[in-house]
Symmetry: C2
Subunit: 406 residues, 2 copies
């Protein structure tokens, strides 16, 4: 008897027909003698609807109120899913984040899980019930509802799997797994059977939408085997797990891209200690995540240019903050470019292979794609390019590193 | 400085435009130096949408799950309303039923309030905030969400007003107050300035939809002055309060009707002690409310006919139960008529006036409206008639008792 946590995303529970289909799947796995915990997202479109309502009311919604608003969609799905499972003769009950005991910090709209109590979940399992958990939410010390940020239901599922030492955590979505590149751009992209946590982390942070990065970190930390698969068929999906010998022989595992980028450049920053800290503290206080940072060294006028990227949605807010900071420190001005994209290659094998970066820059150059910024880690290389070049860049890299189907 | 609880129903918060209009109203009252607590319903149509989803999934939804599902709509409105109030420069925060501390019993979908803790609400008021409470919901001893039944947001508002000893509880709706009859049937129906709790209770229980009966009982018990008024204009509305001398001089205050009725008749019931108890216990165990009961005495064959009414939605369920009970006790059969309506006159003045009932029966007879059942209390007389006669009956009674506008 295995304990399996299954998370179903918005498209998997988009309407009552889909909810019934998922319930069927859940019950068949439970009937095979497994204990199953289901984690659900809001029905597709619901969260966007709520955000639309909030935007119609105010341009700066209070984040505590946003969390109460946004958490409602998952509650609705959890109640409907529990009903659909019960209808098939299987005992089931819904759980809100609070009822699971998901305690978070108070960073509304992007809260971090601090503890999962889970005793009520264990009782339900012991009673032969399938618990259906409303994903994406917890409560803070004031008993206020918090949400874990977009994609937070993945995190809920993995955190519960870790807390209960589940045998597997399955993430159900509308694609069959993790691909070597976006199949809409590269038609011969290949579905991977296995990928390491670290590679998946890079893929997620670089824009591959199948799995939330925080969920992967959690899975890595607590060694939870993750499976990404489709709720629309029985295909086996992609296993996200620890590195093994086979993985290391493959230099590049995948190519990924992210068009949701904006680049901000501060020109002529005085070259004084503490300047970078002043800039990025101001950004982080506004809860904006900075992705890549590049600083051009200048020995001529003791001034330097600093460029960084943020998500396009945060662009205007970041630009306004930087304008103010920049005026105070006497720079030569601020520039923002929202027509940029990030293209990256990922692979654990890179660690022991030389020349991968050079090969990437060369093939982009040969295809007349200008590189604006570069950022590297042990297992990934990212280039910021003009967003009109994204598709071309992904295709030529996928070819160069021979990632296509055999 | 007054403490005012304002409840806004579904049509008053039907969309973000309406929510903004209500916020405007709330803020202007707060700016006059009053403390305001807002109680909100779900946006019009939301609760029906959720019920529709549940019905697509199962024909017998679990009531615990129904409550989690149904409580979501009010939470959404409370978050949006708090944002809209904040947007107008007034401090505000949302409260779920749990955060208010509304403790109920465990009768899911029709829970009764047992206690309101409200300390967090008091703190918010002391901090100059307008609390916005999600109506219709509480939690039980297991920390599960419960709902108070349809119209339960009225009860939430009155219960909070009672717990905090508010100066008034205003129920905002899409009509201007309580009328002497339904204005869609009687064009010259008059809006009342005042009505007693008892009259309002009878009006509510008899089908006048403006106010939930349980809320009126609560208001009467704790002496909370209720005002029913429109959120769409500034008209003063109807005050629901204790009886006074003026009221008692008016014999009949209003005429009301309810087409949501089904009549069940059990024929040839053996005239033995305990028979009625056996019948109505079976009905009440199924959580079906019985309204009128009439028993025809028979001295001939020691058997009697028993008729009773239930809401039309409960008709089929009640009929099935009665069929079984009836077979066991050996009656002559069961009959159901779903084409019936109840027409009633209400007024505290009836207590000291003779002949009101006779006048009612006479005018119905003169207009060839057949009376199937009669039920009376100190301040109301109800007749069950064929539902096609409803409008005619209401009109002639409104005329007879001279209730029209002056």
């Amino acid at each position: 008897m295995a304990l399996i946590v299954q998370k179903y995303g918005g498209t998997s529970v988009a309407n009552t027909e889909r909810i019934r289909a998922v319930a069927e799947r859940v019950v068949s796995i439970a009937k095979e003698g497994n204990q199953v915990i289901v984690v659900v997202s809001a029905m597709a479109g619901e969260t966007d609807k709520f955000v639309g309502f909030a935007n119609e009311i105010t341009d700066s919604p209070d984040e505590r109120e946003m969390d109460l608003l946004l958490s409602s969609g998952e509650r609705v799905t959890s109640a409907l899913m529990a009903m659909a499972i019960q209808k098939r003769g299987q005992k089931s009950m819904s759980f809100t984040g609070r009822q699971v005991g998901i305690m978070t910090d108070s960073s509304h709209t992007k809260a971090m899980i601090e503890e999962i109590e889970a005793s009520r979940l264990r009782t339900a399992l012991d009673e032969g019930k399938v618990p259906v958990v409303a994903g994406f939410q917890g409560i803070n010390e004031f008993q206020d509802v918090t949400t874990l940020g977009r994609g937070g239901s993945d995190t809920t599922a993995v955190a519960i799997a870790a807390a209960l030492k589940a045998d597997a955590c399955e993430i159900y979505t509308d694609v069959e797994g993790v691909y070597t590149a976006d199949p809409r751009i590269v038609p011969d992209a290949r579905k991977m059977d296995r990928i390491s946590y670290d590679e998946m982390l890079e893929m997620a942070s670089l824009g591959a939408k199948v799995l939330h990065g925080r969920a992967v970190e959690f899975a890595k930390k607590y060694d939870v085997p993750l499976v990404v698969r489709s709720s629309f068929n029985q295909a086996p999906g992609t296993l996200v797990t620890k590195e093994d010998g086979v993985m290391e022989k493959i230099v590049v595992t995948g190519v990924t891209h992210d068009k949701n980028q904006a680049r901000i450049t501060i020109m002529g920053v005085p070259d004084r200690p503490g300047i970078a800290a002043a800039i990025f503290n101001a950004i982080s206080e506004a809860n904006i995540n900075v992705d890549m940072i590049v600083q051009n060294i200048s020995n001529v006028d003791h001034a330097t240019d600093i460029s960084f990227t943020v998500s396009r949605a945060d662009g205007n807010r970041a630009y306004d903050i930087i304008q103010k900071v920049s005026n105070q420190m006497g720079t030569k001005g601020v520039d923002m470019n929202t027509n940029v994209a990030k293209v990256s290659i990922v692979g654990v094998g890179m660690q022991s292979h030389f020349g991968v970066a050079a090969e990437m820059f060369e093939v982009l150059a040969k295809n007349e794609i200008n590189i604006m910024m570069i950022s590297t880690s042990e297992i990934k290389i990212s280039c910021v390019v003009d967003d009109h070049e994204t598709e071309k860049a992904v295709k030529v890299l996928h070819d160069t590193f021979a990632l296509a189907k055999q």
